[in-house]
């Protein structure tokens, strides 16, 4: 859903930029408060940047799980809901913003002039909507881990179509192509409800896994604190009764498996023989595969993230440029023809 340059006209892009900047400024203030506590934290240390950076890196990695949803549109995790639940709304906005910023500058994913639009829809709207939904649900649902996981699921599910709606709104104001708005709306929300399902399942699975092992890391969850025991000689039997996070993790894993399976099989349906390949290329192994001994998700961005193994090298670039020229020529011819028609009409009258 990264909007490129030229999709939204200049004035609206700039206005969106201004609004996004304001939202980021607000988040900057809020974030310092948000990440300033937690038990694991070293007293007084400033962990905002490192931990937000880590969440951003994770979002960046999961955003590379790209799966085409319908012709020409590919879905990937937006991550807004995940960020909102894990680190809170303000830091969440910052994390997603940073991801978008780096994607635009380092990988040309999303236009520079469209940065405002992208931040507004994918960082601000998703995070705010997700957090609102999540917060609301936490109020009504009974306290407990299941509620947190369920809340995360719902929040993510709603956040993605919300972003699509926001985008449609912006498009209505400053879209450059005259596509019927109703259709844009229907297509966008339709597709994004699908993407939202994927997003919701992955978000819930991740939050569930984190809850099971490190509940303190989930910004929105209350911690189950037990008082410290003090003694002066070693315990007779060191083996404290272990808790059992197994089942939850298993469930989370299964859920995630279903979703990834679903997403990936979309891909695979076009290429049934490639099932195995796709599982390896687009599954979790995506980033690790190309660089067996060294590398970074960043390095593989264009290759595995965007076009998979099917389009190689410059071919796709050539296709892009070729298509640009072809459409341009078409438009040019159309203009000439309509001008000529106009002139003919003038002459006749």
């Amino acid at each position: 859903m990264h909007v490129p340059d030229g999709f939204i006209d200049a004035p609206v892009s700039l206005a969106a930029g201004a609004v996004a900047a304001a939202a980021v400024a607000v988040s900057l203030r809020g974030a310092r408060r948000e990440l300033g506590h937690g038990r694991q934290q070293a007293p007084g240390a400033d962990r905002t940047a490192p931990l937000a950076g880590l969440v951003a890196a994770f979002l960046f990695a999961v955003q590379m799980l790209n799966f085409p949803v319908a012709a020409g549109t590919s879905g990937h995790l937006l991550g807004g809901a995940l960020a909102a639940v894990l680190v809170g709304p303000y830091t969440g906005v910052l994390c997603v913003t940073v991801v978008l910023l780096l994607q635009a500058f380092l990988f040309a994913d999303g236009g520079l002039t469209a940065l405002g639009v992208n931040i507004l829809t994918m960082a601000v709207v998703t995070v705010v909507v997700a957090y609102a939904v999540f917060h609301l649900l936490q109020r009504v649902l009974p306290r407990g881990r299941a509620s947190v996981t369920g809340g995360a699921f719902a929040a993510a599910l709603v956040s993605v179509p919300a972003a699509a709606v926001a985008f449609t709104g912006i498009y209505a104001l400053g879209g450059t192509a005259d596509v019927p708005l109703g259709r844009v709306f229907a297509a966008m929300t339709g597709v994004h409800v699908l993407i939202g399902l994927g997003e919701a399942a992955i978000t819930a699975a991740t939050v569930g896994a984190v809850l099971a092992v490190r509940p303190d890391l989930v910004h929105a969850a209350q911690r189950l604190d037990s008082p410290l025991e003090l003694r002066t000689s070693p315990a007779p039997d060191e083996a404290a009764a272990p808790r059992k996070p197994v089942r939850r993790l298993w469930a989370a894993g299964l859920l995630l498996a279903l979703v990834l399976g679903g997403g990936v099989s979309f891909y695979a349906s076009a290429e049934p023989d490639g099932l195995e390949k796709v599982a390896a290329d687009n599954g979790i192994d995506a980033q690790e595969k190309a660089h067996a001994t060294e590398g970074s998700p960043l390095a593989d961005y264009a290759v595995t993230g965007i076009a998979g193994a099917r389009l190689s090298g410059g071919l796709a670039g050539v296709v892009g440029v070729g298509a640009t020229l072809a459409v341009g020529t078409g438009a040019f011819l159309a203009v000439r023809r309509s001008r000529a028609a106009g002139r003919a009409a003038d002459e006749r009258s």
């Binding site: 999709f7 931990l51 999961v62 020409g72 549109t73 910023l101 380092l106 892009g320 298509a323």
Partner: protein, 251 residues
Amino acid sequence: MGAAPADTLYLPVGSPVHRLPPQCKIAAVCCFVVLVVATPREAFPAFAAYALLLACVAAAGRVRPGHVLKRMLIEVPFVAFAVLLPFVAEGPRTDMLGLSVEGLWGAWNILAKGTLGVAASVLLASTTQLRSLLRGLERLRLPPLLVQIASFMLRYADVLAGELHRMRLARLSRGFDARGPRHWGVLAKTAGALFIRCYERGERVHLAMLSRGWTGTMPRSEEEAATRAEWATAACLPLLALLVCLGGWTL
């Protein structure tokens, strides 16, 4: 770490473009793209002129055309979208194929501007090192907290890659190979565990930094602000683009 991600994006050839301070380049590219977007879509020669400008920059930066094209893969989803436009848009239709005229215009607009935007960003990323890009953004008054989050993100991207790599080797050495849907469960579980693993590894790295006296800002070598001459050099691109843009409006 740090150096690795730059390997495939950044082209380490010394050129005048590479040597320009990052903040100048970023500002120039941003202005350029804004101008491109602001150009009326009917001004065909203007777009040709923009493309020519970028080609000149690429030549000056010794960036091979193949490199730019390869990086432009990113555009593919939108090329597909644009190709659909002429079929779905409203308004009068052409005689050939019954395409929507308005749709054709829309497609052309998106593709031309999008392509130029992508090419400009690719040139920026090819001639500017990751870390100096961040420094440039910082100099352009991007809030320091955002810059810090970004630099940590880049560092942790390596942690993440490292963890993924370790997990993969560990699976392999115990006889696992991903074959078909039966193994998605394992892969999915890996994804779930990845977050915690990375988070905790990141936490430990952060602790290590703290224990060596880190207080929130990376130590970095002082460097001077860009000179007037450097700003002037970088300004060539947007200035020429401004001329082109104005030309486009007056045509």
